[in-house]
Subunit: 391 residues, 2 copies
């Protein structure tokens, strides 16, 4: 399977199909047509100079009689740690990533981006596969006052941009606990709030429960000048997605550290299903590349200990409330996906499809409540035993 | 878009890619490798004779130390009404479809199939687009004692096969009400029970609320000799899928009447997301073809009234508990998909991924309960107003 790591993307492979078939396959796999949006030359040149793939996509939406369009541009930034080895001292690693982030944010700013989102724990190696506490816990920062937030507040204010920054959080107030957290900074550079990951994976190299526990911040939706946004880490958990929708989210960002051959076929399914069932935009942004650690670690899969992480397959993409999706960024390269959407599309799709009217939340509240009880009896229909026949 | 109706399938188009790229694209889009299963020549010959596409697929599963494998074969049958016009008298239409069903069941029986499933309202035109009550309501039958159930009970018993038969149900006991219902017949030909569609669509040509209301049978799982099975009609509703999982389903059948260009891009997403998030097998089986009605009807989309239904795009397929999927049947032809799986895979994936351990149903029971209240206040974080500065 090693060669699949080099494979650029499904999108680029499909372009080899005959044109007619390509169009049909694309329509069936990706949904409605999207349109091109204008990206200034300056952004393109900077992206090329910094070796950042730049893709853009505009989603279609109807005009309404009473509501003005609510057009926003968002950017998803997927990036590697390389050329910085994971052994780089913490300050130095962060500074190098800050510099790179600054470049990406400037490219986005020139292209009129309103909301910018990083992948999960973007400012550090995804070191949870090692199960070592040192030095990785030292990367944890205060969500509101840490150096990463401070740095981004300045950029947010300069560029009039909302920034979502998923980091490892240190909560000094609560006994130095550690969390997997997304910080939301508004376009004036003010700290708006944070959301802690609700569902912690417990498999293969995703040894996150060794470091932190399930989040206690509920399902907040952040009201920004560019729309009501949320951050959902629980891409395998439809309920996590659902409740952000119930709270009114129009754009749900899903920062991920998704890696490996088992996980990749799920990537294009989960956030897209969330978009089309909840009728909001989802923005799935992944790390990219392989991270190599100093000490060998085992994966719990019976294979030899090793120093390489699974490959983070990038492929960041956006899905509209009707299931139409953007192209994906590459599986292997640093990249910036810029998408433009009219948030009015959310309610338009709700009006058209009416899923929310057929949702029956009341019966599910009851089902879930019963299912959590220790004496829960599943609803199973068995054939009744036939009585013994009398001879 | 008319030509897309003729397009065979995404699968067949992808075969035009260079071999290496095809393999990579397939791995990323479809997941783990599957294996070929042996289908007797007799089945193949019958399928060819009756003009039924026959596809098969085996899902891989590990052997365990304590549990014996629970290998089952299932069949999904997608079929057109054609050559019977929708104006065919009811008895005649049913009889013709019974004859065709009989053929498909015999093909499946020769291939050792244990569980057989039809698409939604399989024994009649999907006439709900017309919003006419006559003669369509006359198609409704008693779930337990109607002619379709009687006919299938005999076949189930002869062929030692569980049969899932989605029909329009007439409930004489409850004031002649009508329901969209799946009847489950066990392999001894006994009526095991029924499930009524929980979520009724309310858009475009899916004018089902004109005919029947939301089901009142909960989320039953049927314990059969070949595994614990359920029927989920609510493919757009992750909660519907979820509760069948909570009740212990290993195989969830999703009979559909899914049609048209807006719907098709969702088809490969929803049941697959359900399989991988709930860790059971899902079997999505769709109608195929276009149905033409005597009277013109409008679709509520501002376009001209017309006599043709949207095209039902077939594409029936199966997904394993880890998200790996089978190839799909054609978009345009009658077809029979036979899949073999070891139901032990469900628990193996749960053990591997642990989603069920990170599910936090308790917090969601509370969230949903709150969200249904008339005075529900969404959890929204806004910037606090800054106090006026004192001069």
């Amino acid at each position: 399977m090693s060669e699949i790591k080099e494979f650029e993307s499904v999108d680029s492979a499909l372009h080899q199909l005959p044109k007619d078939d390509y169009e049909r396959v694309k329509k069936i796999l990706y949904g409605n047509d999207t349109h091109e949006i204008s990206i200034p030359e300056e952004s393109k040149e900077m992206a090329s100079k910094y070796n950042i793939e730049l893709i853009s996509c505009g989603f279609n939406c109807k005009e309404e009689q009473l509501r003005s369009p609510k057009v926003v541009r968002i950017a998803l930034f997927q990036h590697k740690l390389v050329p910085f080895p994971t052994t780089t001292p913490i300050q130095e690693m962060k500074y190098a990533l800050f510099k790179f982030a600054n470049k990406a944010i400037r490219i986005a700013a020139r292209a009129g981006v309103n909301i910018f989102c990083f992948p999960e724990t973007w400012n550090m190696p995804y070191a949870f596969c090692t199960r070592e506490k040192t030095p990785w816990c030292e990367y944890a920062e205060n969500a509101q006052f840490g150096p990463t937030t401070k740095m981004l507040q300045e950029l947010a204010s300069i560029h009039n941009m909302v920034i979502i920054s998923p980091i490892l959080e240190r909560d000094e107030i609560h006994n130095d606990s550690v969390w997997n957290t997304a910080v939301v900074i508004d376009n004036h550079g003010d700290y708006l709030g944070k959301h802690r990951k609700n569902h912690i994976p417990r498999s293969a190299d995703f040894s996150e429960p060794i470091y932190y526990v399930e989040g206690n911040t509920g399902h907040p939706v952040f009201e920004t000048e560019f729309g009501k946004i949320a951050v959902c880490f629980g891409r395998h958990h439809p309920l996590d997605w659902l409740v952000f929708g119930l709270n009114g989210a129009e754009l749900v960002f899903c920062p991920a550290a998704a890696a490996g051959v088992t996980s990749e076929p799920l990537w294009s399914i989960e956030s897209r299903n969330a978009a089309l069932t909840n009728n909001y935009f989802t923005c799935a942004v992944n790390r990219v590349g392989i991270e190599v650690f100093e000490n060998e670690f085992s994966t719990g899969d019976g294979k030899q200990p090793h120093r390489e992480s699974e490959y983070f397959y990038g492929s960041s993409f956006v899905t509209a409330p009707n299931g139409t999706r953007s192209p994906g960024l590459s599986r292997t390269k640093n990249g910036l996906l810029i998408a433009e959407m009219d948030l009015n599309l959310c309610r338009q799709v709700k009006d058209q499809w009416g899923f929310q009217m057929a949702q029956r939340l009341d019966i599910y509240a009851e089902c879930l409540s019963k299912a959590t009880k220790p004496d829960f009896v599943p609803h199973i229909i068995r054939k009744a035993c036939k009585p013994f026949s009398t001879l």
